[in-house]
């Protein structure tokens, strides 16, 4: 009686459990937006609107609001955080840089925008993510060849960059034609961090310096080593976007036309809207989030999964891989998913073929080696979440009665053995009766 009660309680609680954030089903997501002041909410409304239209619920708060909290009793209130507060020195409430990093460590996403005169706090969070902003607080990225043509000559801090990361999954499959406007500070990537990627790089002629003072010594950051916008995918699939410019997301930049210096083409609309919207889709797992389900393997011609294989068995391996599209799990189609049959090193490495409906399949022969093997799928592709599957399976040698009997090649040997016996029999008779 009590057992069925427990089961009943669990079943009724199930919908509530599912409501908690899960990358397996990221719908109805709640985003906390921390702002320097509420003017940003209206000046960047196009960016927020695009996210809202895709089903995100926003909670706008001032960054120094004493009531902000990310979690209580280990439960996070939000699935993602947008930090549009470049000058904040200290967050209100219980939030500090460690809390934000814990938020990311528990698998939540983060968009962080800095700007010229970014605060120490913002720089610290960025550094923890593998991105080092220029240490000079007054420095901004200047480019005397890739600036935007405008009526006034200006100081060439408004950059038009089109050096995007070459990955359809991060910036979208539709090509961003117009250059992206950028005005802000540059950063470099920590070379020890292999997870951080340049989404938007500066041109080789860019440098980071204070535009108001004379350049007395060579600038610290130069050329395409400067990253303008970087993305990070942590090992727990949390995604982070770090931009050196807050105005990159602003309505003004979204709507303004752009003409790159030295280029005759003038675009009516900059690439900012497409770039930031596509990038936000990636950061919020609407693209490039894979899941693998229904891992199956069995002998060719059978359907049941055996507990053990024998050497030289023919087997089939099947796995279904889906990609989250923001609304539903779509079949993932690729021709580079591989499975390893692994014991200390891969004995078999096969590329899986797909039926374009998400099912991946291959067949191979178990090697002539026995021991405890694993089926391993280690799928790491730029922009996609890592798939890491492994399933253990023992492989046994032939049983003594599974070996071939009466091999034609061996008939002479059989014959000789029996002729020896017959010879012995005849010899015995001859020996005994020959007197």
């Amino acid at each position: 009686m009590s057992k069925s009660l427990v089961v009943f309680t669990l079943i009724t609680l199930l919908p509530f459990l599912c409501y908690a954030f899960s990358p397996e089903n990221p719908t109805d997501r709640k985003v906390l937006v921390l702002l320097d002041d509420f003017a940003i909410k209206s000046s960047h409304s196009l960016f927020f609107k695009s996210l809202q239209s895709r089903g995100f619920h926003f909670d706008f708060k001032l960054a120094d609001d004493p009531k902000i909290a990310l979690q209580r009793y280990g439960r996070y209130f939000y699935d993602a955080l947008i930090l549009f507060a470049p000058t904040i020195e200290r967050f209100g409430g219980s939030v500090d840089s460690a809390a934000i990093l814990d938020f990311v460590d528990s698998g939540h996403d983060l968009i962080l925008a800095a700007d010229s005169n970014a605060s120490e706090l913002i720089r610290e969070i960025a550094t923890e993510c593998g991105v080092d902003f220029d240490e000079d607080p007054a420095a901004v990225v200047i480019d005397h060849t890739s600036y935007t043509v405008s009526e006034t000559e200006g100081d060439h801090t408004l950059i038009a960059s089109d050096d995007l990361i070459k990955s359809d999954v991060i910036v979208g499959s539709q090509k961003i034609e117009a250059p992206v406007l950028f005005q802000g500070i540059g950063h470099t990537l920590n070379p020890a961090n292999t997870l951080v990627l340049k989404a938007l790089s500066a041109s080789p002629s860019a440098y980071s310096a204070n535009p108001k003072s004379k350049l007395s010594s060579p600038p610290q950051l130069t050329g395409s080593a400067i990253s303008l916008v970087s993305v990070i995918q942590a090992r727990n699939s949390a995604r982070i976007l770090i931009s050196g410019s807050l105005s990159l997301f602003s309505n003004r930049f979204f709507k303004s036309g752009v003409q790159k210096a030295g280029s005759p083409t003038k675009y009516d609309k900059s690439g900012n809207e497409q770039f930031s919207v596509e990038l936000s889709k990636w950061v919020f797992h609407e693209r490039g989030h894979l899941k693998a389900v229904n891992v199956k393997h069995h002998k060719v011609g059978e359907t049941d999964e055996p507990a053990m294989y024998r050497i030289n068995d023919e087997l089939e391996y099947l796995v279904e891989i889906y990609e989250w599209s923001g609304k539903a799990w779509e079949p993932y189609v690729a021709d580079d998913v591989q499975v390893q049959f692994y014991m200390m090193s891969p004995y078999v490495l096969k590329t899986l073929s797909t039926n374009n409906k998400g099912l991946y399949h291959t067949a191979f022969k178990v090697p002539d080696v026995y021991g405890v093997f694993q089926f391993k799928v280690e799928y790491q592709k730029l922009g996609y979440t890592t798939l890491s599957l492994s399933k253990q399976i023992p492989v046994r040698p032939f049983r003594h009665n599974e070996y071939e009997r009466f091999i034609p090649t061996a008939y002479p040997y059989y014959g000789s053995a029996f002729s020896m016996m017959a010879g012995f029999f005849i010899f015995t008779i001859v020996h005994l009766y020959n007197k």
Binding site: F406, A410, P412, Y413, M420, M421, F424, F427
Partner: protein
């Protein structure tokens, strides 16, 4: 020392043959049996050289049955030879019984190892 010629070799074989003629028929039969076993073993080795060593256990048991047979027959020949003073106390019947027992054991092992 006189140089050896083909005549000497002929003379040697002649004397060997005449000496062997004096051997009792029983021993001659054993010799024939040994030659048969050794010859079968040689055929198998040649066959293995041609087709390869794949059912190696079968090859081993085939050849070893021949060699075992030959060895046991030689042992029997030593023991039943009247001129062999070492075994003069051993009855030929006892020697033959040993031979049969050893052969049974040998062929039991061979059959087990054959397939």
């Amino acid at each position: 020392m006189a140089r050896s010629t083909s005549k000497d070799a002929q003379a040697l074989f002649q004397s060997l043959r005449s000496a062997y003629t004096a051997t009792p028929t029983t021993l001659k039969i054993i010799d024939l049996y040994v030659i048969y076993a050794v010859f079968t073993a040689l055929i198998q080795v040649a066959y293995m050289a041609i087709v390869g060593s794949f059912p190696f256990n079968s090859f081993l048991s085939g050849v070893l049955s021949c060699i075992g047979t030959a060895v046991l027959a030689v042992c029997l020949r030593i023991q039943v030879n009247k001129e062999n003073k070492e075994f003069k106390d051993l009855a030929p019947e006892r020697a033959f019984a040993d031979f049969v027992l050893c052969n049974l054991v040998l062929h039991l092992v061979i059959i087990n190892f054959l397939g």
